[in-house]
Point group: C2
Chain length 339, copies 2
């Protein structure tokens, strides 16, 4: 089968890979329908994280083609969506809603789903079947649920977005934009998008942003305070993962407010005393997308939300290298690969 | 009037100070009945924080002796308890329960309550009158409510201690011990005290600790995991404020669990990536004691709790220097000064 391999930073190729096989009785194999390139794939692409002939990809939707002997919740032919972290969904941590930290969790990045087929560990816990075969127009939104929508949703939940709240979102990538969609769905009164790109501002408004702040860093945080009686936002989503974005998020949050941070933090150090006197709640990490998947799939199925519009470039799998370039050069927000 | 002045690290004296007067129409003056020495007073005593002829103290109970023209909620003669942070209790931040970060807050450390009299700013928001004149035996517990009990209580609430939860407490000073009392009152199933001092272990058990862990740092966190099926505690209180204690708290908490941190952090830096993958909730800061004061006073009045037993040395105000020495040398957990 064909699959994406990153040989080295900046060097993405589509090559023949071995067909995946059932390794554990709890595995399933899926024929991938669509996959995508994640903002986090740019870290190794840019040489910030190590990469060496690595199969890429952790987002996926597809059709079950084979199941292990112990798989009971999905069957061959089911159209399924899964999280970027495989989980048993039965352990104490999963039951508490933290499937991304399941005691048996497997990062799907280690599988590499930018490929024609993928082995899904812990299939019963990981995969959620859609109510039927989806219309093609729903595929991008279902794929978004696999990571960026689920992650943006978790960020908004972690930030306790809801009625009566002003929510600020740091980061205008796909996750930040979908956190806006989530905050809107969760009933937030006011949603401030922090963005300086006209196309992303437009998408932010489409998803429910009521205000746009173009300033960044200290100036950005000051602007949020100006918009909130000098107090700061109740809820802040941090969807970047840099020192500047984390500091900006902490400064923009009122005492007692909540920060949901989902950007994979790179060389970020949080000053204990500043955090202490900020009085904020800080919660984040790899999103437990599985917690939200059934609800998100239903919302998409019912055409209540259309997160798939974050994909602004669609390419066949064979042209993955161009997809990486487009995202790296910020010509695309999020690239969908058809398989 | 007489009051404590710290001339320099290690140099505590009781001297004549000017009688406080009403400066704002919202002030009250109280005749201090009892005050105490805080663990945080040891930071300047040990030269970790700057100090230069500074009036000391921020905990107090006493009798109102004078009120400003706009004070309506307390009257001359009332016995009152107040938080270590004065607050208006009406602003949006106060109403959300974060009185310690009130938009008009005044740190009582700037007043210096280790004295015969003290000016209480924002008296209506800050002071809570007891149901009557308290029996002398209740004074230590009411004084504890002013800071250490309220702070330990907030830590337990921030850590979401409650039914079904295993709570671990890092730090066996007065705040850590009272966080144990709070966790017990909040209904926690299991409370693990981290302490290696026999006398504090005994008090921890009296307050409700079900287990004692003597190990610290990585070993301490490993022990907590061992006691919790390898998962970590649901709720962890961090009541120290050092790098080691913060790291220990994060390691000891399960993914999705909650850390309440109330030790004033000194040179603590939290690694963003470690926090990300820990999946914990982190919340802390100067405790909004005022949020809890009415309930805490009632619990003490009804003899439901006796937090005052954390005071293991009582001295007259004139002997404050000996109190500081005793706490610095760990001969005392918490020193009460009678005025």
């Amino acid at each position: 089968m064909r699959g994406v391999i990153m040989h080295a930073p900046g060097d993405v190729r589509v090559e023949d890979r071995d067909m995946p096989t059932i390794e554990q009785s709890t595995d399933a194999i899926i024929r991938v329908t669509a996959t995508c390139i994640c903002g986090s794939d740019l870290w190794p692409y840019r040489g910030v994280e190590k990469v060496d002939h690595t199969p890429m990809g952790h987002e996926y939707v597809g059709v079950v083609s084979e199941i292990g002997a112990d798989v009971k919740n999905v069957k061959v032919g089911d159209f399924v969506v899964g999280s970027f972290v495989a989980s048993d969904n039965t352990c104490e941590i999963c039951q508490a809603g933290y499937q991304s930290r399941c005691v048996h969790h497997v990062m799907m990045g280690s599988v590499g789903t930018q490929a024609e087929y993928a082995r899904i560990p812990l299939a019963d816990g990981t995969l959620v079947a859609t109510p039927g075969t989806p219309d093609p127009e729903l595929i991008p939104s279902l794929l978004a649920a696999s990571d960026v929508l689920g992650t943006g949703w978790f960020a908004a939940v972690a930030a306790e977005a809801g009625p009566g709240k002003t929510v600020a979102v740091v980061g205008d990538g796909a996750v930040g934009l979908l956190a806006i969609l989530a905050a809107k769905q969760l009933g937030a009164d006011r949603i401030i998008a922090m963005s300086r790109h006209a196309d992303r501002q437009a998408l932010a408004r489409r998803f429910g942003a009521t205000d746009i702040v173009e300033e960044r860093g200290r100036e950005g945080a000051a602007k949020i305070k100006e918009l909130t009686n000098g107090l700061g936002a109740h809820s802040v989503v941090e969807a970047v993962g840099t020192q500047e974005s984390m500091d900006q998020a902490i400064r923009a949050t009122r005492p007692g407010g909540h920060i949901g941070f989902v950007g994979v933090t790179h060389n970020v150090s949080i000053d204990g005393l500043k955090l202490f006197f900020s009085g904020v709640h800080l919660h984040g990490g790899p999103a437990p997308v599985r917690r939200f998947l059934p609800d998100l799939i239903q919302l998409i199925w019912d055409r209540e939300i259309d997160p798939g519009v974050v994909f602004d470039l669609t390419l066949p799998l064979e042209e993955a290298a161009e997809g990486y370039r487009a995202m790296d050069e910020r010509r695309a927000t999020k690239v969908l690969l058809t398989v």
